[in-house]
């Protein structure tokens, strides 16, 4: 496991490019293992690109970076297996049923496919919805399947892109609950959001991004189980 002192995420003036455009123009970020960080900011500020950089899906064009002891951009490939990314589109196969989707991903990650059933039960995908192809489920239900995937894979880094967007009340509570549970279980969570009132209470750190850099950083409302919280 990572030694407790080294931060789970360490970025120094990180730049990421989309073609010729610098979506990330010098990001500095430090996050500890097991902490929850919420990233606020306008559309186009670079929030999603930050998540994809942390997932090792976007090459670090310049600057320094290390996530979960994998240095970027060199060890991006090794980093990916420890990362769970959940965006607006859940990134699974519409023709397959939820359980089949999960079993495929679990087998690919060398995990026991049996985990899929209780993960789906945990997020409330049971009975008829469990046997209808993913394509025919609603956005909320698809998001739940995405969450079930994260639960089953238990990645060390959870990257959530606007997890609360377009969800009903119970599903939103489920998102917050599962995120808290994951962080308590030692996972590091980074979530972007447009709903500060929902996001801040569940976060140790809240940063705002604009113009491809981190503009402000403040502590969030979550009392870390370590009992400290520097009330700025």
């Amino acid at each position: 496991m990572t030694n407790p002192m080294a931060p789970a995420i360490y970025l120094r003036s990180a730049v990421a490019l989309a073609g010729r455009f610098p979506v990330l123009a010098g990001v500095d970020l430090d996050l500890d293992e097991g902490s929850v960080c919420v990233v606020l900011g306008a559309n186009g500020a670079g929030k999603t690109s930050l998540l994809r950089l942390l997932a090792g899906l976007v090459p670090l064009a310049s600057g320094e970076g290390a996530v979960l002891d994998c240095s970027l951009p060199g060890q991006a490939r090794d980093l990916r297996q420890h990362v769970g990314l959940l965006g607006h589109d859940v990134g699974l196969y519409d023709d397959l049923r939820p359980a089949e989707n999960l079993r495929f991903v679990l087998k690919a990650s060398r995990l026991d496919p049996g985990l899929s059933d209780d993960a789906l039960a945990r997020v409330g995908i049971t009975g008829r919805t469990a046997s209808t192809p993913l394509g025919q489920l609603s956005a909320g239900q698809r998001r739940r399947v995405g969450l079930a995937l994260l639960l089953a894979r238990r990645p060390r880094l959870w990257l959530l892109d606007e997890p609360h967007a377009s969800l009903d009340e119970p599903t939103r509570d489920l998102v917050s609950e599962l995120t808290e549970e994951a962080a308590r279980g030692g996972a590091t969570v980074v979530a972007t959001s447009h709903e500060p009132d929902l996001a801040i209470p569940m976060a140790d750190t809240v940063v705002t991004m604009s113009g491809g850099i981190i503009a402000t950083r403040a502590p969030g409302g979550r009392r870390g189980d370590r009992g400290w919280s520097d009330v700025a």
């Binding site: 490019l17 010729r20 455009f21 610098p22 010098g26 306008a42 500020a45 604009s210 113009g211 850099i213």
Partner: protein
């Protein structure tokens, strides 16, 4: 860099001019082909540049780009330049080939093994150029094009053998079409050699120019990158 370009340019124009003068006026016509043989100072040289030089270079640069230690965008640009110039030469090889074929076989196009495989390779590298135009991240595009160039190069022998076997069964290459390069000697041989040198230099000049265009375009974009970074940050501060 500019100086080498101009020297190469002058040299290639001079050599090609010399080749044309010798080829058209100084060298004697052939015994059985008559004046038509003058195309021999054009067609084989074009074909040599197109098939071996251009696509050999493209494949080599592609491998060098893909090889991690020697990876650099310059090889990608070199490979692309070689393909673009190569496609022009392949077009001319086909045109001069069919012009030469018209009086000898009476048709503009024959399914002669060499012409067919040249045409197929031409289409193959048109696919490369089509792939190159797909908007993508420079590194991603470079990687895709390098792999496409290697595929095409690997396909050359397969295409060659399948077309040659296919063609010989079809209508017997040796019987119908006289060997395109008749046995020649003396001044004609020297001119032929000159034609190879002239067109190789011309090829080198064109590839270098095309490469320089890409370099300048790229360096233009690097300059823009630093300005883009400042603009991006300013955009943040403003909002």
């Amino acid at each position: 860099m500019r100086r080498t370009l101009t020297i190469l340019g002058v040299a290639s124009v001079a050599l090609v001019a010399l080749d044309v003068i010798l080829g058209l006026w100084v060298t004697p016509p052939d015994a059985d082909q008559g004046e038509l043989v003058r195309l021999v100072y054009l067609h084989p040289a074009l074909a040599w540049v197109a098939l071996y030089l251009a696509f050999g270079m493209a494949a080599l640069c592609a491998v060098l780009y893909l090889w991690p230690r020697t990876r650099s965008m310059r090889f990608d640009r070199l490979s692309a330049s070689a393909v673009e110039v190569g496609v022009v030469f392949i077009g001319l090889t086909l045109i001069t080939g069919s012009i030469w074929g018209r009086p000898t076989w009476g048709v503009w196009w024959t399914w002669d093994a060499r012409l067919t495989s040249t045409a197929l390779l031409g289409v193959l590298f048109l696919g490369y150029l089509a792939l190159r135009r797909v908007p993508a991240d420079p590194e991603v595009r470079a990687r895709r094009c390098a792999i496409a160039a290697i595929f095409a190069a690997v396909d050359v022998p397969i295409v060659h053998f399948s077309v040659v076997w296919w063609q010989t069964l079809h209508q017997g290459a040796t019987v119908l079409n006289p060997n395109l390069t008749p046995t020649i000697h003396g001044l004609m041989a020297w001119t032929l050699l000159l034609s190879f040198i002239a067109f190789t230099t011309l090829f080198a000049w064109m590839v270098l120019m095309r490469f320089q265009i890409e370099e300048l375009r790229e360096s233009g974009e690097d300059v823009e990158l630093t300005r883009a970074l400042e603009a991006r940050r300013a955009e943040g501060v403003a909002s």
